[in-house]
Symmetry: C2
């Protein structure tokens, strides 16, 4: 715990290994982190936890299929921890046609138009079938901007859904404990919503605290709002959450934002930005972001980042990466994703080290002193 900011260093214990926090979780939407193999994630990144998407895996290949094949860890050959979202975000962002009722949300598959219903209970069941280490409850993820009234109605429903999901999860855990005599060491997090309204966020936290949950997530950020507002909402929310439980802000952020969230007491983050930027040719370095296709890199024999020790930076030149990008070679996406995710994970490890050494304020000051290009609003991830 940093004495002057909210930054914390901790450890999550899961059935698939310990996870040191603060942590950034690479996104493995469809049972694969785009462009990488499990061994890359372990050997090159030493990632301890990755994220899987309930919505995508429910539709394809189907959670029952994955259960039959031994669960998501066995299916994708990932021996470490997995966090799965509830599918709420994708239902609300990928589906034009959907119908929200008290029971849940009726939506159409973006793959073939088939109708499906997600309920608070069913999304827990899907995540149990996947064998997730950390599950999320179903929430309603509002677009930005939303009126106070719409946000209030939605947040109240998210709270009711969280209660239903949590009750279902607890029943299952109790049954399991009674039957097997073991504690599966699974966890389930409710999600704080409330759009960009401080009062709604506070009310939501108050209600969700009654669940005495294993950890808490902050959702509904990264939906197109200005970045300052995302941070403000996190800043309002995190101090209200229990100090002894992990806090996860979903869907953030840019490299320079990671320390800002950590300074506000956030332990866990995930985002498609490092991998999506990689595939689009944007590489993050310790001195800023570069667009590899630019002509200035044509004969540049230097690595992407001289201070980086990843496989990409240990051997390959900017000139070669530029060539692969322009030639449309798959190896570009792999090398670029490897580098960008390594950069994110290195930032997290630097921060943890700084917190443990009592030097996080200096670290944060140094990061803030680097001039940045404005990137505008958060891009909503998919």
């Amino acid at each position: 715990m940093c004495p002057s900011t909210g930054a914390r260093a901790g450890v999550l214990h899961t059935a698939h290994g310990d996870v040191e926090t603060p942590v950034f979780m690479p996104v493995g939407t469809q049972a694969a982190v785009k462009g990488l193999l499990p061994r890359d994630l372990i050997q090159d990144l030493d990632a301890k936890i990755i994220l899987g998407n309930t919505y995508h895996l429910f539709l394809r290949p189907g959670h029952e299929s994955i259960r039959r094949l031994g669960g998501l860890h066995a299916f994708m050959q990932w021996p470490r921890a997995i966090l799965t979202d509830s599918g709420g975000f994708q239902v609300f962002s990928l589906n034009g046609l959907r119908k929200v009722t008290e029971e849940g949300v009726l939506f159409r598959s973006h793959l073939n138009g088939d109708s499906h219903l997600f309920t608070p209970e069913s999304t827990i069941d899907v995540q149990l079938a996947l064998g997730s280490d950390i599950m999320m409850v179903l929430d309603e993820c509002l677009e930005y901007p939303a009126s106070h009234q719409a946000a209030r109605i939605s947040t109240d429903r998210t709270v009711r859904w969280a209660r239903a999901a949590y009750a279902h999860y607890r029943r299952h855990e109790n049954d399991n404990r009674n039957r097997d005599g073991i504690d599966g060491r699974r966890a389930c997090f409710p999600i704080v919503q409330g759009s960009m309204y401080a009062d709604l966020r506070r009310n939501c936290v108050e209600e969700l605290l009654k669940l005495e949950a294993d950890g808490y997530a902050v959702g509904g950020l990264s939906v197109g709002e200005p970045r300052a507002l995302s941070l403000e909402m996190a800043e309002i929310t995190t101090p209200l959450l229990p100090a002894d439980r992990p806090r996860y802000v979903m869907g953030v952020g840019m490299p320079e934002e990671l320390p800002e969230y950590v300074a506000r007491g956030v332990d866990m983050m995930d985002c498609v930005l490092p991998s999506r930027n990689a595939r689009n040719g944007y590489l993050f370095t310790s001195t800023g972001r570069i667009l590899i296709k630019q002509a200035q890199f044509k004969d540049d024999a230097r690595p992407v980042d001289e201070r980086c020790d990843c496989y990409t930076c240990r051997g390959f030149s900017r000139a070669y990466l530029r060539h692969l990008f322009l030639a449309g070679e798959m190896a570009f996406s792999t090398l670029a994703t490897l580098h960008n995710l390594r950069r994110y994970l290195d930032i997290m490890r630097e921060m943890r080290q700084a917190i443990l050494l009592g030097k996080f304020p200096e670290y944060l000051g140094a990061v803030r002193a680097i001039p940045r290009v404005s990137h505008g609003a958060n891009e909503p991830p998919k």
Copy 2:
């Protein structure tokens, strides 16, 4: 040397390591083997030599650029041997508009339409800039079918071009030896053409033998002719080539054809079939080819090939690979390419072992006994 077939086991010595033959060379068209990283080629496949495409690298990023960056080995971080083709095949297969004269071939870039001239001398210069270990001379690669007269005119020109290219290569090697006092251990192979006419193939060999070349390639196969005809042309050609020089048949073939070429005295082969089939979902196993997207593999927990020891087969199920393929995940191409190339390289290693143990005829008999689906004509590679 197999006593009853033409099969040979040998070793090529290059400045970038020894290459045991018979050998199959993975194709790295644009300074990358599609879907793989150099470390995959070394750790998973133990490939000792790969192929680079002069035409593609000449156009993008340009051979002078690669020379400035230390040559193709340094550029793509490939420490082992590289063979480059002359670009002839691509000029003739990728270009609708081209003009062949005694001087060379004028063609338009398939990327931007710019005009370029390849001459026998210029393609050697490009390959020298790349720093290739084994270069090919410029040849004219005829479509199938071609009339005897057209083939004769073309083959005669290929011979004259080979003489010009070889003279240019020899001058460069002599200059280099005089200047540096070292033998760079480079090699240059002329290419036997002659369409599907035995007399033209024989005449072509006769002329090319006068060059006393380091090795000989057989080109103009895999251009759409029936597979039996490709084999027949190889069978006519190889016995005429020097016994103490490597023989390379360009652009073949399917797994079951590899032993047929080796039985006819071929030492080196290359083809895009294993990697292209991989990307299209066709996986080669020791018992035949499977199409992974088929519904029968939906819940199939077995590896692609239980007898295969590659990274893909050591951990991943057919069900998972099918999922990755249907989901359009890049990891599919990587895992599938890894497996298919490993299968090809394992076949080559099995054959070498059989030849060294004097058991190649049994090996060939066993391969021929496996029932095959007819695949029709060779697909021309790109």
